[in-house]
């Protein structure tokens, strides 16, 4: 099992593995500032996140992508600190493959053979035509390819971190439900932080991070839905 300190130093330490599902974690410390050149938002309280799905909610341009990229180690933090523990995957809102490459070829190249069968099953459930060239897929179907790749590249017996930037954009409701089901079923295998703009009020959000007025904080008591958060963001 790997323990990663702060993402930016990318250092790994070995610790003994345990039989329980490996626990990944993200800890955003109070004072963590994100942004490119100027401060976009700052964490107002210590936010520890463990295995499960955590939604990241904010209006456009408030720093969702910036926060995800910061904790994924892709851009530098402006102040403060954070810790991540686990094998990280960042699936950006633009995560696309070559136009001529078929989804099945992408799966063969990136998904370990032992898990490929399950990946094709999920693709089938999502109604993704794996024999069609990536360039001929609709926007929503292109998103599905990235989702399937990320889900089946989770490492077994290792803590996993999945940072999704607006994965639901372009996805139809059945596909969203299938993905949500998958996340529910494999919630103990990874920390998933998912930035999104939900489009139906009843969408359950047991755990959510909110960014508003330049502040990043945790919201929700485990039983809230998108309708409860919407007001706070507006």
């Amino acid at each position: 099992m790997f323990i990663r300190g702060e993402r930016n130093n990318l250092s790994f330490k070995m610790t003994p593995s345990v039989s329980a599902p490996p626990q990944a974690s993200v800890k955003l410390s109070q004072g963590l500032g994100i942004g490119y050149r100027s401060l976009l938002a700052e964490v107002t309280e210590d936010i520890p996140l463990e295995n499960g799905t955590h939604y990241l909610l904010a209006r456009n341009g408030r720093g969702k992508t910036t926060l995800l990229k910061t904790v994924a180690g892709l851009i530098r933090k402006l102040s403060g600190s954070f810790e991540t523990h686990g094998h990280c995957q960042f699936i950006g809102d633009e995560f696309f493959f070559d136009r001529e490459l078929k989804s099945q070829a992408v799966f063969r190249a990136l998904i370990p053979a032992a898990r490929r069968e399950d990946a094709f099953r999920l693709a089938d459930k999502l109604e993704l035509d794996v024999g069609r060239e990536f360039g001929k897929l609709s926007f929503g179907n292109r998103k599905k390819v990235g989702l399937v790749v990320a889900e089946f590249r989770l490492r077994e017996n290792e803590p996993n971190l999945l940072f999704y930037d607006e994965p639901f954009t372009g996805l139809d409701t059945p596909a969203r439900e299938a993905i949500s089901e998958r996340w529910k079923a494999t919630g103990d295998q990874a920390v998933r932080i998912v930035s999104c703009h939900p489009d139906f009020d009843s969408m359950a959000m047991p755990s959510a991070l909110l960014i508003t007025d330049g502040k990043i904080f945790r919201g929700g008591d485990g039983n809230l839905t998108w309708a409860d958060f919407k007001e706070r963001l507006n």
Partner: protein
């Protein structure tokens, strides 16, 4: 390794490699037939060698360098570069994964050129034959040392500035090193007091040294080993410079980020 596999899969899916390989095989068979070989049968074999290696140069410049540029840009713009970087695959590993996959597809083309020369243009004289083998092997090594670093530069440049720059700069450098430098040398000889031109000539990549086609056509024998070693060291030094530049230029995400 995953990015290497993905690049290989993409190259396979593009299917252009089939056309490239067919061109590499067919050109040395068809083109020499346009020579007046019926009247002079000795023309056929040197023409085959010339066609094989000219075709290899063209494939290297037109296909390999363009693929390098295309992959460099798409890696940074498609989110794939960021995806792998978040997993701990750094810039250096990414650029070499892409580059080695591209070079893997160039190797068969070089093998076809060497094979054509050895199977269909081999001199009958045993001494000439031995020299012929070594000339071709030297040519293959120098060719790969020319195109390889330029492809690496193409990946690096394209990841930062886009496909056009990533293709035009290495191609321009290659053509200049193959032909332009020779003209520059002739100009210097005519006007022997121009220090700027002499300085420019000294720092120019002398890629024409890697083109051993005249040695094959005129059966001049292989390069003396001392010269070949010097050339090898010279091209390795260029590789080092271009390799460092390419890795410094390489970006895993678009410039705006």
């Amino acid at each position: 390794m995953d990015l290497f596999r993905l690049t290989i899969s993409t190259l396979m899916a593009r299917r252009m490699w089939v056309v490239v390989l067919l061109v590499a095989v067919i050109t040395p068979i068809v083109f020499p037939l346009f020579t007046p070989h019926e009247t002079n049968t000795t023309l056929l074999e040197p023409a085959r060698a010339q066609s094989a290696w000219t075709c290899t140069w063209l494939i290297g410049i037109l296909w390999t360098l363009s693929q390098a540029a295309r992959f460099g840009e798409s890696n940074s713009r498609s989110g794939i570069g960021s995806y792998f970087r978040a997993q701990g695959v750094g810039s250096l590993r990414q650029i070499f994964a892409i580059w080695s996959a591209i070079m893997l597809f160039l190797l068969p083309v070089v093998l076809v050129a060497v094979g054509t020369c050895l199977l269909f243009a081999m001199p009958a004289n045993p001494q000439e034959a031995s020299m012929w083998v070594w000339t071709n092997l030297q040519f293959a090594a120098l060719f790969l040392l020319t195109i390889g670093p330029l492809a690496l530069l193409g990946v690096g440049l394209a990841s930062r500035f886009g496909t056009l720059i990533g293709y035009v700069v290495p191609t321009g450098l290659c053509l200049y090193g193959l032909y332009g430098v020779t003209y520059l040398g002739m100009t210097i000889r005519l006007r022997d007091d121009n220090k700027v031109l002499e300085w420019l000539y000294a720092i120019s990549p002398q890629y024409h040294l890697a083109d051993l086609t005249p040695r094959l056509i005129f059966k001049m024998g292989h390069l003396p080993w001392a010269d070949f070693t010097s050339f090898l060291l010279y091209f390795l030094a260029i590789t080092l410079i271009l390799g460092c530049s390419a890795t410094l230029l390489f970006r895993t995400d678009p410039l705006r980020n």
